[in-house]
Symmetry: C2
């Protein structure tokens, strides 16, 4: 088994850009900044343009070169005016640099561009002092300043190791789809713990909720009271009322804790490269006899990923709840989104309900007890009873419809499932398929095949690696 | 539809013995009493012999002629001595009367005899004043005196109607097998309410717990405090610390309440005759596709019915609990005992567990989390995972054995089922059969066939009658 040092030495090659790559990114950043300054200098409210994010902090991953250019406006500028010029001039700037651009939405719209394999973002913000935030991204320049003031060349390397580890273990990214660690959070963790291994050693002993406050602005108790229900609390050094880790879910934090434990015990480069390789030949044997149920539909208009993923998550939870109310046991479920095609996959204890069920009636002393008896005695779907147990009437009924796909469709059409209103139409007209063969037929090849393989394996990438090592 | 009066007029024929029958019972009772007095008069401690029970009170049902002869001993007599002479001389007395006798056990042994289609019981008791009870049956002569002092010819008729109704609705009998109304309780209810219909009208409005105190010795609050968990409390007029209805289960009381409601709304003679007729031809269609499971064994030595039924009830409840712990849903179960052959029948949601199940592991922050991962990654019965949800690890496992009969046998042998210790051996070597065809093959003909038909119908006799009326 390689030592941790062996592994990190190999990994650094993967995560640290070469001098040449750094030079190239730096040149493109300067050029883009120049173009932006020229474009925006005559716009009312424009204050300055700056490079932010991983490019400014020199913490970008070799595999993910990215440049964020922020256009700062005075606080008196209207949001509409700012958005309008960002959309127009941002796109022009990207085009002038020879890139392709497209419009994206987060809290407000921004321009995303691609050039020379580099992703660039042109974002508008307000130039404000700490605490006077107007829009959600106004803190970013303050974050950049803070991180730059704390990082050393060694710590930059450690940040890149951490980002590589988070990427490989699929815990990187604050978007709702992931619910993991943002770049800024990674940098703060390295600053706080002084290094990658130091962080992992600490994390392998964490028990949520975990509170980290680099600048010691809050007591643990204050932090827990302020950020209730956050499994990981990292107080923002530039704003003590903000939890930098607010996007981190308990599941992702737990995956990080476990990945840290396993890596320290059994270090491997696959924690950084992602250990999972799809084995399409074995899909059938993986799925055999499992009680699978899949919902599939398309969303063709553009919806910001955080919006769509929030709705998908809530809807999947609502479906799980309704299925369990009906007597299905939901073992596991997963969501996939590729090019507007959505899949929700469920593994159940069964895809058909029992053909009989006990219907609980009123206590005998209730006025309507005798009506219950009459009704069910003469009903053709009564199998047995009514009988009395304790003070209450029961009757065994035949269930006409038992299959999960038909039942769920019906419940959705009757408004009995808590799904996001925006997706109601999509779910109503969705394709629902139950049975492992049917699911493989539908998803076994095509854009969702890799998701299906991972759903059937239900194993974080870093564990696959651990497993293979164990067997070797 | 006949009126209540029509029905009762016809019923009285069934429940009231003819003058001739009464005369015959009375003569046999006198003769038996005479024989007993002669047999016991020289025995040390003997005080007197008396006729008790329904014969003494003239409340016996035409279909159930029965004579209880009580042999009273002085309180100084030892229990062993009393039991010994009852066993010996009681049997001699029955034989002298030309009857067959056998030994039975309740709290202490007594002699049961059969002659001229009449059942006789010869029972030993202590001659004590009220409140000085030594054995469980010492109150009986006091009960007889109380009831005789209160009954009129009209009330005797009403008692017989009630006993007929209780018999027909299967709520008659204080033995554990039934958990219903004793003869003495029936008499007290008629005395209290002044008639059969008056009782039924009251009962149809009962909501348990129900407190009845003829002599007004206790407040409702005192009675509820004294007889906690009794759904029906009828304070014994000869002993205010005793609940005459202590044997009545909530289920039987509820059946009585519902039967009262239905009878008053839809009177029919079948409430007195028992409406249920087995339809052996339709057993198959009744059982089809139902998830049935049966346990069958023999008990060949004599065990008092209350003992065996208590053990069977507790064991069935223990089995239900274990099955539900494993994920079976027990819809209903029933117990039958015929000539030493015991059957426990269960209707389930399924007779096989799902072939996969989710095994819940430790939270990731626990020391053994990594061992859990290692163990299940390398285990051949791991289907998927481990994965993390919230702070916890889960893994999907294959279940090698899924059928209820094999599983239950295993759990019993491993001591995981709360069954009566006396029956442990019987259950361990019992025959267990799952599947509706298999169950019909085993029980569809033979001594348990009628039980099986009733279990599959799961409908009190009085409801069958109601149902047929509804359909007519």
């Amino acid at each position: 088994m390689p030592t941790v040092e062996d592994v990190l030495e190999r990994v650094i090659e993967l995560v640290e850009p070469s001098e040449e790559e750094k030079k190239k990114l730096s040149e493109i950043a300067s050029a883009l900044l120049e173009v932006c300054r020229r474009k925006f200098c005559n716009i009312e409210g424009f204050v300055e343009a700056s490079v932010e994010g991983s490019a400014a902090k020199d913490t970008w991953l070799r595999s993910k070169p990215e440049i964020d250019v922020f256009i700062h406006f005075s606080p008196t500028t209207s949001r509409e005016a700012m958005e309008k010029v960002i959309i127009e001039l941002g796109a022009e700037a990207v085009q002038e640099m020879g890139g392709r651009s497209r419009l994206r939405y987060a809290e407000h719209p921004y321009v995303e561009g691609f050039m020379d394999n580099i992703t660039v973002n042109i974002v508008g913000c307000y130039k404000v002092s700490a605490g006077k935030w107007i829009s959600a991204v106004d803190r970013t320049p303050h974050h950049t300043r803070y991180v730059v003031s704390k990082l050393t060349p060694r710590l930059r390397r450690e940040v890149r190791l951490l980002k590589g580890f988070l990427t490989g273990t699929e815990t990187y990214g604050a978007e709702i789809r992931v619910g993991g660690f943002s770049g800024y959070l990674s940098e703060l963790l390295i600053i706080h713990f002084g290094g990658f291994l130091e962080l992992l050693k600490s994390a392998s002993g964490w028990r949520p909720p975990v509170v980290i406050d680099i600048e010691q602005r809050l007591s643990r108790r204050e932090a827990l009271a302020l950020f209730t229900n956050s499994p990981l609390i990292v107080v923002d050094p530039v704003d003590k009322n903000r939890n930098v880790a607010s996007a981190v879910t308990l599941t992702k934090l737990s995956e990080f804790i476990l990945a840290s434990k396993i890596f320290l015990e059994s270090p491997s480069i696959s924690f950084f490269t992602g250990g999972f390789t799809q084995k399409p030949n074995s899909l059938e044997s993986l799925a055999e006899n499992r009680e699978l149920f899949v919902i599939m539909f398309r969303i063709d208009e553009y919806v910001p990923p955080d919006v769509i993923w929030g709705e998908l998550r809530r809807s999947a939870a609502g479906i799980k709840k309704r299925l369990e109310l009906a007597g299905f046991n939901v073992y596991n479920y997963g969501i996939d989104e590729r090019e507007g095609s959505i899949v929700l996959a469920f593994e159940l204890d069964k895809i058909n309900l029992p053909s009989r069920f006990v219907h609980r009636g009123p206590p005998v002393w209730m006025r309507d007890a005798i009506r219950f008896v009459e009704k069910h005695l003469s009903s053709p779907d009564t199998v047995a009873g009514p009988w009395i147990e304790g003070e209450r009437l029961y009757v065994l009924k035949k269930r006409e419809e038992t299959s999960v796909d038909v039942l769920l469709k019906r419940w959705i059409s009757q408004g009995e499932v808590s799904i996001s209103r925006q997706l109601n139409e999509a779910f109503s007209s969705s394709k629902m398929v139950a049975g492992w063969r049917e699911v493989i037929n539908m998803l076994g090849s095509g854009i969702h095949a890799s998701f299906l393989a991972r759903f059937l394996s239900s194993r974080p990438a870093f564990m696959e690696a651990f497993g293979r090592k164990e067997q070797a």
